[in-house]
């Protein structure tokens, strides 16, 4: 397997409470990995270690390594903003920035000064809105505030904003749980279209979504990774009793 992210002996604590226990996994490149497990098992926590969002919560401690392209992102010489540029995040609730649709898409590009002139920025905005499947709906109202969009549109805008800084990895923490079924489906289709070029890691609560999206599955329980493997194997022939129980309980 061509691993894009490797997690080695990862332990995470919130204060004294341990949220991740000796996690060792590999996330395959240019595939969709879904993380499943009951509430509170540490899915969000694991995801947050991939873009170093964990350190935004006070009182967290982390031991072990998270390697992206073979480089430990927790090494001292690593610039956290570079990590987050490479590892993008699609949040659970869409958070449009308080500016226009156009400026939202270009926010990260401006921060990183990725383009030279206005023309290039304009083209880029269109490009990423098209990829996110939003262009047709917003091309006539690019300068409206982003908050005027529907929730589903906002989430696609957030996807465009994340993609615009040219990440290699997309993280999604239940990215469709706040959306209606049609918007959810829309986001799912985007993620499937994009998986050729991006390594995608999605946390999901719904087994059906996991089956639709997942190429690779990680099942967690009480802070531990119980089972990880290609989707077909895990879904059809789970090795571990707990995984089996979870899969059956979900039907």
């Amino acid at each position: 397997m061509d691993a894009h992210i490797q997690v080695k002996n990862l332990n995470v604590y919130y204060g004294k409470q341990q949220a991740l226990k000796d996690v060792n996994i590999e996330i395959p490149k240019n595939q969709i990995t879904v993380i499943m497990g009951p509430s509170g098992c540490g899915k969000t926590t694991l995801l947050k270690t991939f873009n170093r969002f964990l350190e935004l919560t006070e009182g967290t401690q982390l031991t072990g390594e998270v390697l992206v392209d073979g480089k430990n992102i927790y090494d001292r010489d690593v610039d956290v903003t570079e990590v987050r540029k490479v590892v993008g995040l699609l949040a659970q609730r869409p958070a449009p920035l308080p500016m226009s649709i156009f400026d939202n898409v270009l926010y990260g590009m401006n921060i990183h000064r990725m383009k030279k002139d206005r023309r290039e920025y304009k083209d880029a905005a269109r490009h990423y809105l098209e990829i996110a499947g939003l262009w047709d709906e917003v091309q006539n109202r690019l300068h409206d505030p982003a908050t005027s969009l529907s929730i589903g549109q906002q989430q696609r805008l957030c996807l465009a904003r994340g993609l615009a800084v040219e990440p290699e990895i997309i993280l999604g923490d239940e990215p469709t749980s706040a959306l209606d079924p049609i918007s959810s489906q829309n986001i799912e289709s985007r993620l499937i279209e994009l998986k050729q070029q991006y390594t995608t890691v999605i946390v999901t609560h719904t087994l059906r979504q996991a089956k639709r999206l997942g190429d690779y599955v990680i099942y967690m329980y009480l802070g531990e990774v119980i089972e990880a493997g290609p989707a077909k194997e895990v879904f059809n022939n789970p090795q571990h009793e707990r995984t089996r129980a979870y899969l059956e309980g979900q039907i």
Binding site: L56, E58, T81, L89, A91, P98, G108, I111, R161, A164
Partner: protein, 333 residues
Amino acid sequence: MSQSNSTFSKQSNKQTEGRPPRPSVSTRARQDQAARRTFFVFTLLPVLLILFIAIALFIRSWPIISAYGLSDLLFGEVWRPNNEQFGFWPFILGTLWVTTVGVVLAVPLCLLASIYLAEYAHVKMRSFAKPILDLLAAIPPVVYGVWGLLTIVPFVDDVLAPLFDRWLGSVSIFKVNQPTGFGILSAGIVLAVMIAPLIISVMYEIFSTVPNDLRHASLAVGATRWQTIRNIILPQVAPGILAAIVLGASRALGETIAVLMVVGNIPQVPTSIFDSAYPLPALIANNYGEMMSIPLYDAALLSAALVLLIVILIFNILSMLVIQRMLRRKWAS
């Protein structure tokens, strides 16, 4: 009332056996009504009090307002009560100079401090800073006055005045006309220190109205904390920051004792931060109750108080409206 109560409780006893009888809904509603009215009156009391004070001040100052006209009073430059000349202009300008210098000195530091506390500091630091700010706000003004007298006035006289005189003496607002140390700059420094805790607290509250989702959205694309603050947070909180400054200014406008101890109290139109001045509150505090034999003197001082009250009320109400609105938005989200 007791009748309806008992009939109702019989009914309810039948319906829910074994439970003790409760006061009827209507009784409880009435009690609630009464409580609500009582609390309403007590909330209204301060408002009525202010209104009452304003009306009383207006009635007492009416003789001089009707005799001289408001604009002659406000813009008159000569203050000679013995001569029956009552011009507030030097005092109004004194107030504005002192307040402006205080606010200009305080705001940049307060902004940096509140950004640090809200956006960078750890929980421990925050819970350490909060009581300290409250403590600073609780120090009696006269203590600040004494501190200004013993420390700031000599510092301005010995260090700042010569320094400015040498390097910026040609700029009229930095010119040293009266080298005593007592003056606008000393008062401004003391004021800045006095209003800082309030401004920092309010600004901190304002910063915490910004939802974390926004910070995270910015950080997630690889923005630094500072880029997030500059591009996302500051534009969001700008009205609240302005309101915090206005609130601080209104506090400075009314500050009396600490200012009058260090400002020199000479009724003149100031032209430099090293000039002495005589702000309105100091005028009232120093003179009310003395020389009352002069006709209209009493009315003059009370009309000064009225002007001060109105200006401070407007400042307070405007800033509070903005701040309340922003805080409500925080609880709504």
